[in-house]
Amino acid sequence: MAATRGHLLRNIVLFGRLLRVGSLDVTPTQLRDWVAALELVDLARKRDVKAAARAVLVSRRRDLPWFDKAFELFWQARDPRELEQLELGLLVQRHTERTKRAALQKLALRDGDDGDGDHPDDRDRTARTRLYSAREALRKKDFAELEGDELDEIKRLMATMRWELETRRTRRLRPSRGGHRLDLRRTLRRSLAHGGEMIHLVGRDRKHRRRPLVLICDISGSMEPYSRLLLHFIYAVSHPRSADPGVSKVESFAFGTRLTRLTHELAERDVDRALQAAAHRIEDWGGGTRTGEALREFNYIWSRRLLGQGAAVLIISDGWDRGDIGLLGHEMERLHRSCHRLIWLNPLLGSPDYQPLTRGIVAALPHVDDFLPVHNLASLEQLGDLLAAM
């Protein structure tokens, strides 16, 4: 008996590790609770054991598929060694995938840099920009035209920009001088010092809180010259540098033909690793654009969960769209109704001859609160001003 219990315990620990491989973080406390739970259910009934494990170990719906898979493996393994091998196998597989990915990424990055330097009218442009101070020129230089060093400089400047989101009055009250509602508890407390005479009236007022920000970025083929840098921008917004962050919650998505949530990938502290992880998640990088379908997915799956607290939504796209235009208009309208402010950023808007006539833009514009350029650093500063005072 002791031996089989020992087996069971080892299996349990291994199972916990197996779950972690699928990035389902299980705490030791949860494992301990599971052991306690296993004493309460019939171990011969697979369904009960599984339900018990799931109730204790899983706390998010999106982890359920991996849990189901891992549990099947756990249930089939007869002795710990089998599980151990299994876990090792999975870890190795993951590791090789990651190195392969990293190598690919590096290649891709190098290609991108080379491409940028080979512009034919390079010399003309340099001549023109000499009129301004170098920094000022850089601020106004189109992202698509940046060269090696400038690119690094822009990334550095982006990281130092301070983003501040407008606050929203919440329904939570807090004590304040001259607040509009009477704080009876504090008033009464104070009055006791004067034998119950209410001399000081303490007020309460609504608390203010930063609005959440949702960024939805087009990474299809037509956005290619901008998309890498724009991901950098999204990363910079998600990682405020100062002690008093001007943003509270930032959610980020990318889309081409489908929608990909990047919030977790971009939460990684290291810039390069964050962007690599994001690039890996995106399967439709540089492909076609189906904005309507992507927004529809956002509306159906995410909007109710993310737009609850007066969020501002930024869509970054050039509006070249090969998808269903009717759908795009419809979903823009729905999105507009469910957020506080809908801002469309278009890199092409920086060009003086640009006319917003593409089918996508025409369908989307009626439902947009602000239509702004996003092609250089100056335009980002302009965006910053808008976000601070919506």
């Binding site: 002791a2 306690a36 309460l40 259910v41 019939d42 339900a51 359920l64 993310l306 609850g308």
Partner: protein
């Protein structure tokens, strides 16, 4: 090989009424709640391990109902806290009865008692305390008898501040009132937390709980639910209704009808003296099932005919 260390939960309350999962299923069924076995297992563990249960799922799948039914099964009081943004201590935990406090102070003054010290002690004592759901749950569980069922409904509507406070409460069911002291529960209440996922609830809180995602029931379960809850509905009609609702759930809609909608619809059809579904009646009563204009637009005459055909062919 190491032996199994003693990981037993400190005090597993042994309730003779629920020796195993099957007993929970039977007890829920006796109260007209048809639960999937997985949900019953989670409830059973929550009762035995004294851990809160966290229920997530689409609106209308019966999350709140679980708490109500549990209270009836356990024959204990249901204490409900409906969450909203800005929910604070004075509405969730306790509040002082200011009117009485003021009157009392005036009384003291009239009687010529001027000692401020006694006034403070008097006025901030248990007599002047108004208990709100959380304090009530903790206090009730001290009075012997069955611990109450505490329903914290739609936690996703509350803000992060309240969530942080709740994390503390759920950890040890202990409330500190500065003026009086600490009140702790003897046996923790049976806590049920629900969320519609309009906002992601923090992981730390979910980890303290037993988590269960309630899905829409399958066909057989849903027919059973309808028959239990709307006994006037003939069996063949209930089956027809459920087949249609399940067909609608396969449609590409913004918001799919929940079990609550199935029950409302059944009641509506019975009230209209219907015994079978037709194009016309489905069109006229679609508003009971679908609550968004876009969804209603999508289910046009052609879609109605298609759905009816589909649900009829499923019965063969």
């Amino acid at each position: 090989m190491t032996a199994l260390p003693d990981f037993k939960h400190p005090d597993l309350p042994r309730d003779p009424r629920f020796p195993d999962v099957d007993a929970v299923i039977a007890a829920l069924r006796a109260e007209d709640y048809i639960a999937e076995r997985d949900l019953a297992t989670a409830i059973y563990l929550s009762l035995r391990m004294g851990k809160p249960i966290f229920l997530e799922g689409e609106p209308g799948v019966g999350k709140t109902e679980v708490a109500k039914v549990l209270a009836r099964c356990l024959d204990s009081e249901l204490i409900r806290l409906q969450c909203y943004e800005g929910l604070d201590v004075s509405t969730a935990v306790y509040e002082w009865n200011y009117r009485r406090q003021l009157l009392h102070l005036r009384g003291l003054e009239a009687a010529g008692v001027a000692d401020a010290r006694t006034a403070v002690d008097d006025v901030f004592s248990a007599d002047f305390l108004l208990e709100r759901p959380l304090l009530r749950a903790v206090r009730q569980s001290r009075k012997g008898g069955a611990p109450p069922v505490l329903l914290i409904d739609e936690l996703d509507r509350a803000d992060e501040e309240f969530e942080a406070y709740l994390l503390e409460i759920l950890a040890d069911f202990q409330i500190t009132i500065p003026e009086i002291g600490t009140v702790a529960a003897e046996t923790p209440p049976v806590a049920v937390v629900t969320s519609n996922r309009t906002r992601e609830v923090h992981d730390a809180l979910k980890r303290r709980c037993l988590y269960h995602w309630i899905d829409f029931p399958d066909y057989e379960k849903e027919v059973q639910i309808v028959l239990r809850r709307v006994p006037e509905a003939p069996e063949h009609f209930a089956a027809e209704i459920v087949r249609l609702v399940q067909a609608i759930r396969e449609e590409d809609l913004f918001k799919h009808p929940g079990v609550a909608e199935t029950l409302d619809w059944t009641n509506a059809l019975i009230a209209l003296d219907q015994e079978t579904l037709s194009d016309e009646i489905l069109r006229d009563t679609l508003g009971v099932l679908l609550k968004y204009q876009d969804d209603l637009d999508k289910i046009d005459d052609e879609a109605v005919r298609r759905l009816l055909r589909k649900s009829r062919s499923a019965s063969d």
